[in-house]
Amino acid sequence: MRFFGSLLLAFSLLLLPAVAAFAETSNLKSVRYDSDHETVLILLDKKTEFRFYKYSDPARVVLDLKETRPPAPSYSQEVQSPSVKKIRYSLYMENPSVTRVVLEVKDTKDWRVTAEESSAGYLLKLTRAPLTETIENPSPPKIEPPSGPVRDAKGFIFQKITSGAVKSMMIGRGQIRLNLRWAFSPEVRLSSDRQELSFWIPDGVEQNLPRTIEVGDAVFQYMSLEESETPEGERAIKVKVKLQQPSAFQKEVDSIEEELRILVLPRTKILKVAVVTSENHPQIQIDSQVPLTAYKLFKLSDPHRLIIDIPEAEYAAEKELDGVDGTSFVRLRGAQFSRDPMTTRVVIDLKEKTKYEDALSPDGKKLLITLKEINVKENPRVVVIDPGHGGVDPGALSPSGIEEKDITLAIARQLKKLLEEKKYVVLMTRNEDVNLTLPPRIELANQNDADVMISIHCNSFPGSGDMLGMETYYYNGESFGLARMVHSALVKEMKREDRGVRKNSFVVIKYTAMPSVLVETEYLSNVDAEKFLTQPENQKRYAEAMAEGIEAYFSSLELFKESNEQQSHRPL
């Protein structure tokens, strides 16, 4: 009897840790990256056991949280940081009671974990900073005293937020700018009278709330902050913004600046559109009833046009105006582009590609667009053309013995001629049938600070003569846009089988410092493709398509640049 009693006691002792562990399941509340301190903050609702590992190839830091449930089955977030590439977590496949948090890092050296208990829960910090607090001696997180509102020279009111998803807020000039601690996009609500915006900042802890900040400009009355709960029951700071007049809004995320912008668009009327001339440059003036906070400018080609879209604007001006003789400005048209959403569109018809400058008057009620002719000699683009193979290296051979090196050179020479006609500076890695290994090709492009590089090849599958089609390869993300545009132009012009845009680590596109692509024009091993490739008119068409793709790529860069300039000009 005594034996059975002891056996029961022994089993109870064995079971005790398991029961205790089951009872202490914790929940992973959030995983965030604090870029200021290069620290990943992992918040759990209660203390739990964890294990910390470092792995190489690829370098990663791993934290296994025992008896922990994640908020979602899996999560992955790329991070732009000098030390961390990606943060991800999921249930550990081998043991679903464990949640595994993985940081893909540049280098595992100096990474440490610290833990602290606070009212918010159990906070684990993965950091490269020296260990300041030990696991055995946790201390509550420090809360910095909030700073009061500060108005800068541009008219923005600055509000620092000491914790939660937002580091600071700026309000003014028709915008609310949120500088983010981690990627987050609030649900912004507009009241039924369209005069109040509201949203929540999750996990924010702030002293001295509620608080009201008087703005009092043309768009905003005031902003208020108060402790609240989201509809999901999460603790948060509720932000309310009272507007001067009924308005709409747009949300924009700038992932590079880690900023979220809420643009407020007061309803307005376009009262007048006029053409004036200043220093021989035509200038278009658009008058608005209330200050403009946002507008969009973009160019279209074939025929060349400059488009101005103004949101929340009713068009009440003249519908058509004549251009100015002796300039590229042909005609101006204005109309109500759409009523839902309310948008005004002004179109400037142009003779040729034209540069423009846009500016708002100090009161924001006049938008001025100045048209200027482009001087292509100002900043010529440098294109490096690399005809594949050469000399003793013939590359692929066709069934009748045609060599790849001759076709690539013929297309490259045509492309050079076309690009030079378009005023590009063109450099050839080889312009003759000479031996050339891969490193000098890369050096030529890198040393001359080329804008793009295009390497021309023919593919071959000697065992499979029926394979056909074109492929365009890129290596890094920067080259993806160029690859797509060149390939798109080739598919459209050549009407050959589309074998896609692909990624691969070819030497000439991997080690070049600028956007670079490798084009496989066709399969030289195919009898039909051989005939097609050897015809001079087809070689010319390949060159034309490549030139068109390169030009489209540069135009898209211009548009992107202009769009960035637009954003800097947009606010009042």
């Binding site: 005594r2 034996f3 009693g5 002891s6 056996l7 006691l9 022994a10 002792l13 064995l14 190839d57 089955p73 899996s74 999921s90 249930l91 496949m93 193979h389 290296d393 590359g395 692929a396 051979l397 790849e404 290994t437 891969l438 090849h457 023919c458 593919n459 071959s460 599958f461 000697p462 065992g463 499979s464 029926d466 394979m467 089609g469 492929e471 365009t472 390869y473 993806f480 797509r484 390939h487 798109s488 598919v491 089988e497 589309d498 074998r499 896609g500 845009v501 692909r502 990624k503 691969n504 680590s505 070819f506 030497v507 991997k510 080690y511 490798l518 496989e520 399969y523 030289l524 091993s525």
Partner: protein, 330 residues
């Protein structure tokens, strides 16, 4: 009572020792889990790599990893005779030596004049085929290449960067036209579907872009059932789903994947068990490869559990499918 406690502690220690010993024995005894080596050959047309797995018997398991890696390459030159597959290595190339340096396999390859791959396509397929195959040997993670010219001088690759050891490529058998890429945006989501060769019914993994505006689970089900677009370069492949067999619904939550086929699937189980097995292999492998957590499968047809005479498995228990594709005998 004190005596009881001593007795309990003693018993606890004995039990602990017993379980520890049992665990150790399990560890040192031969594992029952089979070891698979996967070879990658070229499908007809040369544009896709086909995995063919081979189960290694216990006797072979005792082979050194060097020997295994070497055997993999040797076998890569000779695809199984009963399948319409081609070696990814060009005629005129042979292996001189394989050595292991930690997790890196070093391969010295010689070739006769004209024995190097022509064009980026064959060069990529050769390197990918070798790297994918050799890294299926347990413990091998990278491959360093040494190509030797006919005059015994090193040969530099004409296209690929091979100076450093090469890890298994993330992107192989990946397929998207420029139009599809454009519609998918800058960060396309790729799904891996398994289709089969028309002749040998070999399952081939192909990565395709998620069609816009569809849920991922439904999109993958549609790709599996419909097969490749008829006029695409993948026309040599076809869906593993026979006419009329379809997926009604897929529900996925963490590791759990519920697949509901239509009732035609029951007919397939009855009339062509091999065909049904291929369908299940393709479906399981596609979801396991496309979704990180997908692991436990529950199968129904027409919303009902499968009849016991056709399906011997407990419908309440998940099916855990090891991903072994195109298995051939040892």
């Amino acid at each position: 009572m004190k005596k009881d406690l001593y007795f309990s502690v003693l018993l606890l220690l004995s039990l602990g020792l017993f379980f520890f010993g049992l665990g150790y024995l399990v560890k040192i005894l031969p594992q029952k889990h089979p070891v698979y080596i996967t070879y990658y050959y070229l499908a007809p047309g040369g544009s896709l790599l086909v995995p063919v797995s081979r189960q290694i018997s216990l006797k072979e398991e005792r082979l050194s990893r060097e020997r295994l890696a070497r055997e993999v390459i040797v076998d890569l030159f000779t695809p199984p005779k009963n399948l319409t597959l081609y070696s990814a290595l060009p005629t005129g190339m042979w292996i001189e030596k394989v050595a292991l340096d930690g997790d890196t396999a070093e391969a010295w390859l010689h070739f006769v004049r004209g024995g190097v791959p022509q064009g980026t396509g064959p060069e990529t397929q050769m390197v990918n085929g070798m790297v994918l195959s050799m890294t299926s040997v347990p413990g091998v993670k990278k491959v360093r290449f040494h190509f030797i010219n006919p005059d015994n001088t090193p040969w530099e690759s004409q296209h690929l960067a091979l100076q450093e050891p090469v890890s298994p490529p993330e992107e192989w058998n990946r397929w998207a036209t420029e139009k599809e890429l454009r519609s998918a945006g800058d960060k396309p989501r790729w799904l891996r579907t398994y289709w089969m060769t028309r002749e040998d019914h070999l399952l081939i993994p192909v990565d395709v872009i998620l069609p816009r505006g569809r849920g991922e689970d439904d999109a993958l089900a549609r790709l599996l059932v419909s097969g490749p677009v008829k006029d695409s370069a993948l026309a040599a492949l076809t869906s593993v789903f026979p006419e009329g067999v379809k997926i009604n619904q897929v529900k996925r939550l963490g590791p759990r994947v519920d697949i509901d086929f239509n009732e035609k699937f029951l007919e397939l189980l009855r009339t062509d068990p091999q065909g049904a097995q291929r369908v299940l292999d393709a479906v399981f492998s596609s979801y396991v490869d496309s979704f990180m957590l997908a692991k436990h499968f529950y199968i129904t047809a027409g919303g009902k559990n499968l009849p016991k005479e056709l399906w011997p498995y407990d419908p309440e228990k998940p099916l855990l499918k090891p991903v072994v594709i195109n298995l051939m005998g040892p």
